[in-house]
Symmetry: C2
Subunit: 235 residues, 2 copies
Amino acid sequence: MHLFYTPDIQPTNPQYFLSEEESKHAIRVLRLNIGDEVQLIDGRGGLYGAEIKVAHPKRTILQINSVISEFNKRNHYLHIAIAPTKNMERLEWFLEKATEIGIDEISLIICQRSERKEVKTDRSNKIITAAIKQSLKAYHPVLNEPEPLAKILAREWDGQKFIAHCEPGEKINLKDGITPGGKYLILIGPEGDFTPKEIEDALSNDYKAITLGESRLRTETAALEACFEINFLNR
Amino acid sequence: MHLFYTPDIQPTNPQYFLSEEESKHAIRVLRLNIGDEVQLIDGRGGLYGAEIKVAHPKRTILQINSVISEFNKRNHYLHIAIAPTKNMERLEWFLEKATEIGIDEISLIICQRSERKEVKTDRSNKIITAAIKQSLKAYHPVLNEPEPLAKILAREWDGQKFIAHCEPGEKINLKDGITPGGKYLILIGPEGDFTPKEIEDALSNDYKAITLGESRLRTETAALEACFEINFLNR
């Protein structure tokens, strides 16, 4: 069944008007017709069952037949703060895969060794939206605008905080460090890793240093590994 | 330090001649010179320390100073048999990431619902080679030529066998099903999943059905999830 992302829908709406773009897609491309059933997700946990009442290529009207709230609500909250990769494709792969596997919030941190300091988050958000539709997720992960690492470090966070880095020093495994069902903020550095000073600043801000295993991982692979581990440990 | 993949080197070699292509890369691109140290991996567990004796753009000669065998030898054997994705980039992404995280053998299986039945494994192998160099792995994962699912099912396998599918039926989690330090063969189906008949054939060949979590995953994401779980559970 076809799925539409409709962030502006409300659980009380008896019907919903597809945007001009979505209407055109539904009628001209998908060739949907009156009576065809579709699903809507609002990105805030709402999954709607609907059927086409008016099949108009500019203004398709859907009748809402069912509403499920908190659909597949996650039992924990994962926030990964990653330094954007030099090659945008790698960051975009991470966004797609992390969305499929399960993530709640992504921050883009600019570090001293970051080669990329800017990201077109509108394009990145489109990738996340496509991934929630593909993997049938009712919650849309939040993608924050790029910001300096220092701003993240200074932020209040009522959960556990971790930093993954490759410098020497005492490190723990996530499986030994996390409280299941908790809130986690994990920092992943740029291609050149965090600087010793950045690591020191994180540790002095109550971040715990973690290892993601013995392999030398690329930035986006390390971030996905952390995402895998948190989801796996909370299964 | 720069790393070269030299599958033809032997642990007893006192020196090694870089190929014309690698010599050109080393001298013209990397601008390496006499006395510069490099590392070599043979793809069979050998990690060599070497230094440049003759910096020739076509025939660079290296002196081998140290040999480590079974470098970071894995404590288990993971063989993933995946149906090639319609979009080759997705399969290539899996090959790169699985190599970084840890895998020993990859088979490409042609299933009834496979949209792609051919893969240029030479190009795929180049991606694996680049990934072992990037992640400093001394073992080169084996990539097998595409073959029908039936051939894999009929193959002798002195380890555990699993099939990941989305059809209803009894399934276990890998963490409840694997023997640590073992040999694992895991089947991952095409975009349209395995057919009920294919699943039945696998089960009757002693494959155990597994779940990779609640998320609806793309083929390459499911394969990477399995790769991650096996490595994580054997850490």
